[in-house]
């Protein structure tokens, strides 16, 4: 899944996979911080997988 998303042009910085148990709160905080940091570090500001057309029905 990750490979195909990257292939389609989603930056690796936006794709994170983690296995976090409900008891691992510190790991969750760590991962969440890393994810936000790596997305913010991206140069491209193009929105990907965001719908632009208004919703109908």
């Amino acid at each position: 899944m990750k490979n195909l998303l990257e292939h389609m042009g989603v930056e690796p910085e936006r794709l994170h996979f983690s296995w976090i148990s409900s008891a691992e709160s510190t790991k969750f905080v760590d991962v969440a911080t890393k994810v936000t940091e790596s997305v913010k570090s991206l140069e491209s500001k193009e929105k990907k997988f965001v719908k632009t057309k208004p919703k109908v029905a």
Binding site: L4, E6, H7, M8, P12, S18, F49, K53
Partner: protein, 319 residues
């Protein structure tokens, strides 16, 4: 391909006469040029409609899903691999089938030919000895080498001979090696792009998609009784032609075919606007080969890689 056609007819007649099968699935001339239709012959008399040439690019494995009859079926390399996938996935029993194997010489790309024609193509002739295809219509006629107008998937095909069959219609053809065919050249080209260029490439690729779902319907792998795109409760993906919805449809459909796709090209052939949706599936095929050493449909025993777990499966993407 008169010799192939004659042999198909001969075998089909015999099978029906000896009551070995209830029907034989093959192709007959389509109502429009370049598109032969699947045809089910249930009696000896119907057998004469069968044809074989370079316009038999739809995948017949698509028509055997969950069938209960005993079936004779014409199969090229890729079609036979899709039949094998069906057997593995329990969609048909091997002993229900009598496979008439075609050593395949590739299918012509109807989109390429249409682009070359100076008007609507009214008829197509194939000269086997010279290896040419002649298309003609009102006020024009043009001959080209078949090799030049092969479907891309056929020109890079490394499994032309059936992997599974009961009887061949001719001697096996020589297979190209992976080095000669270089099947992943196009995938590598895309892989080399920057993320934004990749994004733009797929935006451009899908810009004409009208979401008719012909690509899905032509694919033998897409046999779910209800496809995720048709479901409304829950609704997995928007139904509009918003670029995000279109992209989501293609991403997920391709993923459902991961490790199962044989690169038969039926999806591209059936697309009314000529979108090469194989740009998605070919990447997955390459990954399956590189990550799991897997090629779809080469036997009827092994389950596809995304359906099994092995301790040595790569997992370095999970942090």
């Amino acid at each position: 391909m008169k010799s192939y056609t004659d042999k198909i007819k001969e075998i089909a007649k015999r099978l029906l006469k000896e009551d070995k099968v209830d029907m034989v699935i093959g192709y007959r001339k389509g109502t429009v040029p370049l598109m032969h239709q699947p045809f089910f012959a249930t009696s000896e008399g119907e057998v004469d409609s069968f044809v074989w040439d370079s316009n038999c690019g739809l995948n017949l494995a698509n028509y055997i899903t969950d069938r209960k009859e005993r079936i004779g079926i014409v199969a090229t390399g890729c079609n036979s691999r899709n039949i094998a996938v069906h057997v593995v996935e329990g969609k048909i029993q091997r002993d229900q089938l009598y496979i008439i194997g075609i050593p395949c010489q590739g299918m012509v790309d109807r989109h390429k030919l249409a682009a070359m024609a100076e008007g609507n193509i009214a008829s197509v002739e194939e000269d086997e000895d010279k290896g040419t295809i002649t298309i003609s219509g009102q006020g024009f006629s043009k001959s080209v080498d078949k090799a030049e107008v092969l479907q891309e998937n056929c020109s890079i095909c490394v499994h032309r001979n059936p992997v599974l069959c009961d009887e061949l219609v001719a001697d096996e053809v020589t297979e190209q090696t992976r080095e000669q065919a270089d099947p992943y050249a196009r995938v590598r080209e895309i892989e080399a792009m920057s993320p934004d260029d990749k994004w733009a490439h797929f935006d451009d690729l899908l810009s004409d998609c009208i979401r008719c779902y012909a690509c899905r319907n032509a694919c033998p792998l897409c046999y779910c009784p209800q496809c995720f795109v048709d479901e409304s409760n829950p609704q997995w993906v928007g139904k509009s032609v918003d670029p995000t919805d279109i992209r989501t449809f293609h991403l997920l459909r391709a993923y459902h075919c991961a490790g199962r796709c044989t690169d038969c090209g039926a999806c591209v052939r059936s697309c009314p606007v000529g979108i090469n949706v194989r740009d998605f599936t070919k990447k997955l095929e390459k990954d399956c080969l590189e990550l799991y050493g897997w090629e779809a449909g080469l036997n009827t025993e092994q389950r596809p890689p995304l359906d099994t777990y092995k301790p040595e499966d790569p997992e370095d993407f999970i942090k």
